[in-house]
């Protein structure tokens, strides 16, 4: 496909805050891949990105990306919150000016969300400035004047709990996108005879995966994908599950609907949870129906509840909305990037912990913790330079350097979220 794939953000990124303070929705892992990875796997090209201005340096997108419209090829505009990309299959061959609109009333815009469009560079230029400002509604209104609208209802990220809800299904639907030369059926792995496997035909492993017996891999309810990770003895893995390269599963119970991103360390019990990347939940404790961002560290015995004793639906505080009823009986917590939780912290279902928060010495954490909060019994503002110094230390342990652009991004986020900490 010659089209330039261009990921854009609309107003909906706000209802995914604080998870989207430091990344776009297209970089939130859901299923095996993030949207960006999924598009690359499907179409064989790295999608271009038009993120919020302050994210541009970290994403390498350029703050004023004029080059995006410089080629005389169609632009395939894709909403960063899109999860299910099957709707793009027909769009790639559709006439220029075809617009896919979601008629889902649950969408953030309250009806009618631009999902994707195939545009000529000329028509794309007509909405370029609005795209740079994340003005999705204005973009949609303008494109509808010139194009043909197709109304469908693809799965999208509207609220944080959609990550958890869609994860199991997307692990299964992402399976065909896996590189068959990289992932082999588990039966073909030289050590396969030492593993206890159920439905082995649905288990795919990287040849370099180190899976140490005794281990139980149960794919009866969904596929299991294991990258070049290490699975230590006495681990139980129940599909659908995806475990990425460099991950370490330390005798953990990894239950259905879980994705473990690259270079994560997982112990204890985890269920229906997405762990973005480079995060540690290495010790005992339970996390269910939750999302853990990047560079998160969870202390021993820290646990989240994902079910109320009343079996009532769980409410979550969403930026700009206040308390929103998720309509879900089972829902854990949402931890943004760089969150650190000390030992023995208990989180209620629907808890949201903001970027860079460092929480310790508290038995029950509050349900909503603003970004860059420090403390437990008493909460204070985390001094940003100290937070960055900690991040540098943490990242260097994984041989990753915190770039100047990343440090600036954290500083910018700190400034941007200052009002959220006013009440402390």
């Amino acid at each position: 496909m010659d089209d330039t794939i261009l990921l854009f953000e609309d107003e909906g990124y706000r209802s995914l805050l604080p998870l989207t303070y430091t990344r776009t929705a297209a970089d939130i892992r859901c299923g095996i891949f993030t949207l960006r990875e999924r598009l690359q796997a499907r179409f064989g090209q790295q999608p271009a990105m038009m993120p919020r201005e302050y994210l541009a340096d970290v994403l390498g997108a350029g703050r004023w990306p004029l080059r995006l419209l410089s080629r005389n090829v169609p632009i395939l505009l894709v909403n960063s919150r899109l999860l299910d990309i099957t709707c793009l299959e027909s769009l790639t061959s559709a006439p220029l000016g075809t617009i896919i609109v979601s008629d889902d009333n649950n969408t953030v815009a309250g009806g009618g969300t631009l999902v994707a469009a195939r545009l000529s560079p000329a028509l794309a230029s007509a909405v370029f400035a609005d795209l740079l400002q994340q003005q999705g509604q204005r973009v949609l209104n303008e494109l509808q004047r010139f194009g043909q609208t197709v109304a469908i209802r693809p799965r999208m990220l509207n609220f944080p709990w959609d990550i958890v809800e869609a994860n199991a299904e997307l692990i299964a639907s992402d399976l065909p996108l896996l590189d068959p030369t990289t992932f082999i059926p588990a039966q073909h792995h030289p050590n396969a005879s030492m593993w206890h496997m159920q439905a082995p035909e649905r288990i795919f492993v990287h040849p370099n995966a180190q899976i140490e017996s005794p281990v139980a891999l149960d794919a009866r309810e969904g596929p299991i994908v294991i990258g070049a990770a290490r699975i230590e003895p006495f681990s139980l893995i129940q599909g659908p599950v995806a475990i990425h390269d460099g991950a370490l599963i330390s005798g953990a119970r990894v239950r259905a609907g879980t994705t473990i991103g690259p270079v994560c360390r997982i112990g204890g019990e985890i269920e229906a949870t997405v762990v973005q990347a480079y995060s540690n939940k290495h010790h005992d404790g339970f996390f269910g129906h939750s999302y853990l961002g990047e560079w998160v560290n969870i202390g021993a015995m820290t646990t989240t509840s994902d079910l109320k004793n009343t079996y009532g639906s769980i409410k979550v505080t969403v930026a700009g909305y206040g308390q929103v009823d998720s309509g879900r009986l089972k829902l854990g917590c949402f931890l943004a990037d760089h969150v650190k939780l000390g030992i023995g912290v208990h989180l209620n279902g629907g808890s949201v912990v903001g970027t860079g928060a460092n929480i310790f010495g508290v038995h029950f954490a509050p349900k909503t913790i603003p970004p860059f909060t420090w403390g437990g019994e008493r909460f204070r503002e985390y001094q940003i330079e100290r937070m960055i110094a900690v991040a540098r230390k943490v990242m260097s342990r994984r041989k990753v350097t915190l770039s100047d652009a990343q440090a600036d991004l954290l500083r910018h986020t700190f400034q941007m979220t200052r009002s959220e900490r006013d009440s402390m």
Partner: protein, 394 residues
Amino acid sequence: MLGIRRRLATLAHLVRPLALAFLGCAILALGLGYLLTYLYRTLTLPPIFYYLTLQFVPQMWRGVLFLFVGVGTLVAGIWSLSNKVVIPINSDGSNDEVLLDYRRVDRMPRVAVLSGGPGMLVLASLGRTVESMTCITPIQDPVEYYYRASSLFNFEKVVFVVPTPQPMQVAFVLDNGQRVRPSDRIPQNESYAQHYVVDVQLDGETSVDQVLVTRMTIESIANADVIVMGPGSLFESIIPNLLIPEIRQALAQSRAKKIYICSIMTEPGLTTGFTVADHIRQIVRYGGFAPDYVLVNAQRIDADVQRIYAAANQTPVYLAPEEYEETVVQAIDRDAGSDVMVEGAVVVEADLATAVVQLTASLDDPGKSRTVRVLRHDPDKVAAAIRNILRRGQ
């Protein structure tokens, strides 16, 4: 209240030095007080000092009076200082600049540009000093060309937008009745060299009234503080967009300053023999308005360069004295003293061009190339001239 806060906010960077100076004044006053007390108690002073030191007023009221007068003087001083302010332009301190007795501009201007070809890129360098710049490309041009060229320059705050998503063809009627198109490469064709355009028409099946114009085009014109036409080919880059009624209407309703940057040289086959007034007349004819200002190159052109252009059937577009209308614009500031009114537009003569050596290659014979000295609109000079115009009437 907001106005007071905003004015005082300009002193934000002076709070510490002011506080230090205030402390110094207080200590100085204390020292002076001790000294005066000493003198007063040890020397015998003339009776006039009884009145000068307000001794007929009770001591407590004297203190209150001085406090009031002191506070009042301090407030007056700070208020006066807040209009003569120091602003660090860059927070990194690399290019800090001190502005004294400044003129407050609430925001940088929004600019809409109607131009095309390399002229559009000349103007785009203004992007650093504007809030936003929307360049409306000619209806017949592919927008990718502009994005490709501009991405090489790292422009910021500049977007290029098509007036209509479907490119439209334009046709010119020459003075000999011949009908030609921009794709005929008119300036390069010797057979058209002595002719000029007498009419411009949209060439296609779509009726001009049915043309749907992009919202950004209309909004950028409506919201602009200044609309710049040119630099660029009058008939190929500027006039075609004026053929669309919706754009014409938006321009007519816009309260922005409209500046036309006149070509430096005539274009063979298009504007052969055109004067500044002829250029302005075409804008009036097709746009239905006279630009507020017309920028004309006043730089003397070397005889050598003129000969090169003459060989290519091009002559300089200067302001001829016979084009001056009776009304001479009254000077509103020092710069505007020499402006004249032509065809309802204020013509501003300024140094706008730079001679550059250009390598030209023949499309017919790519191996054959030569260097020529040509005149081009200079981005910095044009930007400075536009900024000068923007300062007028502020």
